[in-house]
């Protein structure tokens, strides 16, 4: 697992991919910090700068994992991995953790901005608690979406296809609440009933994320994201192994 992690992580920086992702995320997070944190005379919380990153994270994440499994199959390097004396899950975890590391590096940018604020602005109060829950929210959201996108990359040999499906899913995740609301409203008006809580509400990624960025650290949200990660990593392993049994 460590060997695969090291190789994967290094491969992000032997091509422009790693640098580009870091640069784009850094630029966007800096922009939002400027607009919603610095520029408002510090009347707003850092969470106002972090919360909208949701919409961009959903589109930055698919390129991080687009090569993970697609390239293995295209270059036939999966033969080296699958005939090595290691478990399938070692391969999946190595790849997942290296992608997560890239994303983690992206999200650490917030701490840099906050540190700058502390050093440069006298009397600036930093709400460390809020910053930490926001960061955890961004991290868990990204970790779940990375697992999902890793799964997509195991399904196809085309990087483009993996990215497009990943971004499509991102869009769906973003609009999920609206979608559920519309379904709920139309079902209620059709059946002339008044159900407020749909079970579908509970699997909304954005609502679990919103809890984090509002400063609420709820174990249910943590469990929710960890279940998504576990589910898709497991499925990725199954799909990668499937070729052997085809």
């Amino acid at each position: 697992m460590i060997a695969i992690f090291k190789r994967e992580f290094a491969s992000y920086f032997t091509s422009p991919l790693g640098y580009v992702i870091l640069a784009i995320y850094g630029f966007l997070s800096a922009l939002f910090t400027l607009l919603f944190y610095y520029d408002t005379g510090y009347s707003y919380s850092i969470s106002d700068a972090i919360a909208p990153m949701l919409y961009f994270a959903l589109f930055i994440i698919p390129p991080i994992t687009m090569r993970s499994f697609t390239e293995e199959k295209r270059q036939h390097t999966d033969q080296a991995l699958l005939t090595a004396p290691i478990n399938i899950m070692d391969i999946v975890m190595g790849k997942y953790l290296s992608a997560l590391c890239i994303y983690l590096m992206c999200t650490l940018s917030y701490f840099v901005y906050v540190l700058f604020t502390m050093i440069l602005v006298k009397g600036a109060a930093v709400e460390w608690g809020i910053l930490l829950t926001c960061w955890l929210g961004v991290l868990f959201l990204g970790a779940a979406m990375l697992a999902l996108n890793l799964f997509y990359s195991s399904l196809t040999q085309s990087q483009i296809l993996a990215v497009v499906i990943g971004m499509g899913t991102g869009l769906f995740v973003m609009l999920y609440d609206m979608f559920i609301y519309a379904v709920e409203a139309s079902v209620n008006s059709l059946l002339k009933i008044d159900y407020e809580v749909f079970i579908l509400d509970k699997i909304s990624i954005t609502s679990h994320y919103t809890n984090f960025v509002s400063g609420i650290l709820n174990p249910a949200d943590v469990v929710f994201f960890i279940s998504i990660i576990a589910l898709f990593l497991f499925l990725t392993g199954r799909v990668f192994d499937k070729k052997r049994w085809a």
Binding site: A10, S11, Q75, Q79, T83, P85, K243
Partner: protein, 324 residues
């Protein structure tokens, strides 16, 4: 060392490999010979555990490849048809990665330096694999299979893409490795297999059509002699007359040459000399022989002969006959 039993691989209703069994011992070089699409690569992928078998089993050193995958795979070095190279890495970094991937316990630097010297890639170890020529890539792939010094080496067409000098170097390398390791090595070039291997397994259409020592195999392909004739006269007459000569196995008309003259190929049993009989029979039929010469089988013909499924039974009968 390597034991393959009744290996079957079907894709839907299509059977790519139909019940292959053989075994290879330590210090043996086993040649895997067959035309493209015969099932060589599929079989090798099943031996290394890259593909599962539909039925049948593979054991390496007593460990089943599917029941004890870690133990079995750690004993195999595999060079697939297309070497599994990460193009964005340098040769040295790549081999270090493979070293860690296989969890090798030998001293790293000495071990990798030794391998790189062995396959002659030490002068390019700092170069990115993407920029290497096909011959070098093939050798890096070979080096990858040697990492960890596995007792079993599975090499899928290792000489494809090499120039003639490299092919000779590769052959002598395989031959020297075969003294200590079990080497299973596939090719569709008969001369190559017979030059390196102690034993040849011929596979055709997913079935083994011959499995014997290299010398025995060439005897099988040589058991028929051949005459090339040019005879004047009606083709049908000549064919029936020649077919009746004692010792003749098969007569084939090749081409029509001059007026009323054709060339023929006559296969006959090796232990007979049919030349006089042919002369007398054709003279009796008033068909003058314009030319007669012995024609040996080319390597390619022997190959076609061996991989021709209809010959399977005959080969097996011959083997049984030889043992009695």
């Amino acid at each position: 060392m390597v034991e393959v039993k009744n290996l079957v691989k079907s894709y839907g209703s299509v059977a790519a490999v139909k019940g292959i069994s053989f075994s290879a011992q330590q210090g043996e070089i086993l040649g895997f010979l067959g035309p493209n699409g015969a099932g060589k690569t599929t079989t090798m992928n099943m031996i290394t555990g890259y593909l599962s078998a539909t039925s049948g089993s593979v054991t390496i050193d007593g460990f089943d490849i599917l029941d004890n995958p870690k133990e079995a795979r750690s004993r195999i070095g595999y060079l697939p048809e297309i070497p599994p190279l990460y193009l964005d890495m340098t040769v040295e970094k790549y081999l270090q990665f493979i070293y860690e991937l296989k969890k090798v316990r030998l001293p790293r630097k000495e071990h990798l330096d030794e391998i790189m010297a062995l396959v002659k890639i030490d002068d390019i170890k700092g170069r990115v694999i993407r920029n290497l020529s096909k011959g070098y890539k093939q050798r890096v792939g070979f080096a990858q299979a040697l990492v960890g010094n596995p007792p079993v080496l599975i090499l899928d067409e290792p000489t494809v893409g090499l120039d003639p000098r490299q092919i000779i170097e590769m052959r002598s390398l395989i031959k020297s490795l075969g003294k200590k390791h079990t080497v299973i090595f596939s090719s569709h070039v008969l001369s190559e297999v017979s030059a390196i291997c102690d034993r040849i397994v011929v596979i055709s259409n997913g079935e083994i059509t011959a499995d014997s020592k290299t010398e025995e195999l060439s005897a099988i392909t040589d058991d028929a002699g051949r005459l090339s004739l040019i005879v004047e006269g009606a083709a049908s007459t000549v064919l029936s007359v020649l077919g009746d000569v004692d010792g003749v196995i098969k007569v084939r008309r090749e081409a029509s040459l001059e007026d009323n003259a054709y060339s023929y190929l006559v296969d006959y049993k090796k232990d007979r000399d049919i030349r006089r009989g042919v002369f007398r029979a054709l003279a009796k039929a008033d068909c003058p022989i314009l030319e007669m010469r012995g024609a040996g089988k080319t390597l390619e013909e022997s190959f076609l002969y061996l991989t021709d499924v209809t010959k399977v039974e005959r080969v097996q009968k011959n083997k049984k006959g030889g043992k009695n």
